[in-house]
């Protein structure tokens, strides 16, 4: 079964890196359905494609990741969200999990850490 993945980060380089790793590391179960640079774009793409998985940055313009997580969880409660953020304090991670995220990966991350976190989310 293929799972739809939406990648959300305000950095184009990071969005591309995550997309490329998903392809290069041969995660055939993932189909990337969208790349979003802020929370508003992410919400629109999430409603359009109804992804099962989302990687979500927190510090973004327009709408930040916190608010975006709440809205996605409201509308698509089955969607699993992996937060990928530089905000490294425990309180931020706990807040994201409380809002409905299933995982938290701190930046900077290695290729292996990203793949492992995504696999963890899929299991």
């Amino acid at each position: 079964m293929t799972l739809k993945l939406l990648i959300v980060d305000d950095s184009t380089v990071i969005r591309n890196r995550i997309a490329r790793l998903c392809q290069d590391m041969r995660l055939p179960c993932l189909e990337i359905v969208g790349l979003a640079g802020d929370g508003r774009q992410a919400l629109a793409l999430a409603e359009q494609f109804r992804p099962q998985l989302v990687t979500m940055d927190l510090t973004m313009p327009q709408m930040d990741g916190d608010e975006c997580i709440s809205r996605i969880v409201d509308r698509l409660p089955e969607t699993r969200i992996l937060v990928v953020s530089a905000l490294s304090d425990k309180a931020t991670a706990l807040k994201a999990i409380k809002k409905g995220a299933q995982g938290f990966l701190r930046k900077p991350f290695s290729d292996e850490q990203l793949v492992e976190s995504l696999l963890e989310l899929i299991r």
């Binding site: 950095s11 184009t12 380089v13 890196r17 510090t59 530089a86 905000l87 304090d89 930046k107």
Partner: protein, 161 residues
Amino acid sequence: MTAPTPIKKALKPADVEVFAETIGHYFERITGEKALVRTAYLLETEAPPQDDFNGMIIVHGSYQGSVCFAAPRGLLTHVLMRMGQQEYSDADHLDIVGEIANTLAGRARRVLGEGLEITPPHTYTRAGRALPSPASGTPLVIPFTWQIYAAVLVVHLDVLG
């Protein structure tokens, strides 16, 4: 009645150490090679150093000020290559300098806590302009080298008490 003005204090040496540690950690994680962090110094009179590309994070919350990462093109091109990027335009360099600034400031929250609230990066080239930093104290420059390249992190923060 007006609200009392918060007391502003300087960062403690241990807080500065956090930023130095984040630089080392970032380059080791992304490139496999540690950056050599040099002795930090206070910038008493000169303007903060700028480089080919600059990423500035405005900080608010329990801290007030800015964190700015300034780096030469060559260093950023190497980081882009290590991330698997296949294009190296100015836009890509601006993107990565902002992302590094964001990551270094965000990682400092591990020790300084969630009171260090950060904004998305403001990025600019050597010809561009920094935003005015909301801090009133003296900026601190943390210089480092990675391979043959020299870069700096300028930490300009007041601690609100």
